[in-house]
């Protein structure tokens, strides 16, 4: 273990106070001298029923004294539904762009009074994951990318999910789909490099399998843009470490590339450094373009060209979810996220 015990041997601590069991609303009722119904009315501010002020006070005091906290599972079991929005937790560290987006989204959903929960379904494949999510009976499920198919959507809907929203490159049957145009990112990059006179174009594809969902359509986009031209596309596998980058840079002369689309700005930075260390001049020998328009791209020299992609605003997506939850009967919608736009700086 990389750490070291430092304090409080087990025996030095009073063996936990009398393992008094968790207080329930019945306990509160007993202590306040009222019925469980009254407790529920008071604590939920039920407007259909008027409770006298003294009673209210007694209930609140009893609840506070016992440290009563309602039991969400019991409540939603009784209610027959929950206000939980479930998202699978990303299984690989996703970049700052998506972290930011997820935060915004969580914030917006909280404002709409949803309980947002990221569920780690690491081992699970396809439908297994959907089933695991369904066990929690969420009101809505928001799948960032490629983690679900039509059968998964069906499982969730059958078990009461009022909305399934996917966020990715393709439309999923039965789900609201937000289509992010990753292919468009590749197209923009490819077209730009071509327009700048480049013809032998490399495309970085991260080794990280979790990034495949992004890298595949981006690569396809480059191919599309260059299809029917005299330009060639070379796939360049790359791990996110110096050795891998140096290895790639060492092969640069034999590859004979005059441009590279580096998947995103972070990989672009990695590769650009390795190329520069190997004596390749950017952009004269080889042009480089990244994607995602991160801050770090502006800090590089030469400044990094990139493809900016607009993710849906957290608020808008939260509203889509809310609409879908409130009106699950309505048809499924598909939206296209704004197009990718090219940001030309000095590296291309």
């Amino acid at each position: 273990m990389p750490y070291v015990m430092v304090q409080i041997p087990n025996s030095a601590v009073p063996p936990t106070p009398p393992p008094r069991s968790v207080p329930t609303s019945a306990d509160v009722a007993r202590l306040a001298g009222v019925s469980r119904a009254t407790v529920s009315y008071v604590l939920n501010n039920t407007s259909a029923v008027r409770i006298s002020e003294p009673t209210r006070r007694r209930v609140h005091e009893a609840a506070k004294e016992l440290g009563y906290v309602p039991h969400a599972a019991a409540r939603s079991l009784r209610a027959g539904h929950s206000r939980m929005v479930l998202m699978p937790a990303p299984s690989v560290p996703i970049g700052p762009l998506y972290s930011q987006f997820i935060n915004e989204l969580q914030w917006a959903l909280s404002r709409l009074d949803y309980t947002v929960v990221q569920y780690a379904s690491l081992g699970l494949r396809g439908d297994e994951a959907a089933r695991a999510w369904a066990e929690l009976r969420p009101a809505a499920v928001l799948v960032p990318v490629g983690g679900i198919g039509p059968e998964g959507v069906a499982v969730l809907k059958r078990s009461g999910a009022r909305a399934v929203v996917t966020l990715g490159t393709e439309r999923i049957e039965g789900a609201h789909s937000l289509l992010i145009d990753h292919a468009g990112v590749g197209r923009a990059a490819g077209a730009h490099l071509y327009a700048r006179g480049r013809r032998r174009i490399g495309v970085v594809v991260p080794d990280e399998p979790g990034l495949r969902v992004f890298s595949k359509p981006r690569l396809d986009g480059v191919r599309e843009a260059l299809d029917g031209t005299d330009a060639s596309v070379t796939v360049l596998p790359l791990a996110y470490d110096e050795e891998s980058a140096a290895g790639l840079a060492a092969r640069w002369p034999e590859l004979g590339l005059d441009a590279v689309f580096a998947f995103n700005d972070e990989y672009a930075m990695l590769l650009m450094r390795a190329l520069q260390d190997a004596g390749v001049t950017v952009p004269d020998d080889t042009a480089i373009i990244g994607a995602d328009d991160l801050v770090l791209g502006r800090l590089l020299r030469p400044r990094l060209s990139t493809v900016h992609i607009e993710l849906p605003a957290g608020r808008d997506l939260a509203e889509l979810v809310d609409r879908a939850v409130r009106n699950p009967g309505a048809g499924v919608e598909s939206h296209h996220v704004h197009e990718a736009t090219l940001v030309h700086r000095d590296s291309s």
Copy 2:
């Protein structure tokens, strides 16, 4: 809205198949022609009871046909406990170091058959957050940093949490505490800069309030290391954008600093670029050191000195949680995470 509807107007879709209600184990029992008890035995592989093979088959088939998925809330209500480990979702994009750590941890806990859930408690302050978490009746709660106090821990324990583990700079009464030595990071940086002959030392403190929990102890560490010496410490507030960095760099001559500890590698990169653009030479005019030992530090020129900090391995932490859950009566433990170690490269 930054996106555009593209397909399937509401009216073009069959208004969702008859909103058949969610199948329960009773439905499965009915279809299979057995009792609910038998269904439960079969689906849970209850070993204390032997069910005939034909019956098992009938139950499994019925379950599959109905698309039955058990209801987690009902189950844990009945069981009186859950295997949920709850972590608050970070409210600001936390760096790659912590993302990586959280992933590892989730993986390790999944292996131990826990359901790991990140809960977004964005609006909530202090005890409110603890109460919200307690409503879910998690078996354990893992609070990455400064998001809980002793009262919060008490609330959670009262409502059945068998373990509360904190991960931060200080020990919290009643919780298992993993102490990460952020002050040690600052101390290492400060001592290093002093040893390199620097005396007028700046310390970057990010404007981002969510990073305060890290930046405060790191700053304190620098002060500790320099206390009683002839060196001075200057606090440098900085936002993570180019303008803020350029503004700071413009004031550099009047600040007269010969070294700066830049909070972490990302802020170091930002500041280093701004300083270089302003004509400040690194490390001759001003030494820079970062922290967290990210890949990007090795990609800068000069290569960035940094402070490496070893986070607990996900597996070890998962085992600590498991131990605590299985034996909640035992005393609370505090552990020190490994010390910060200095990585000297070219920027200092």
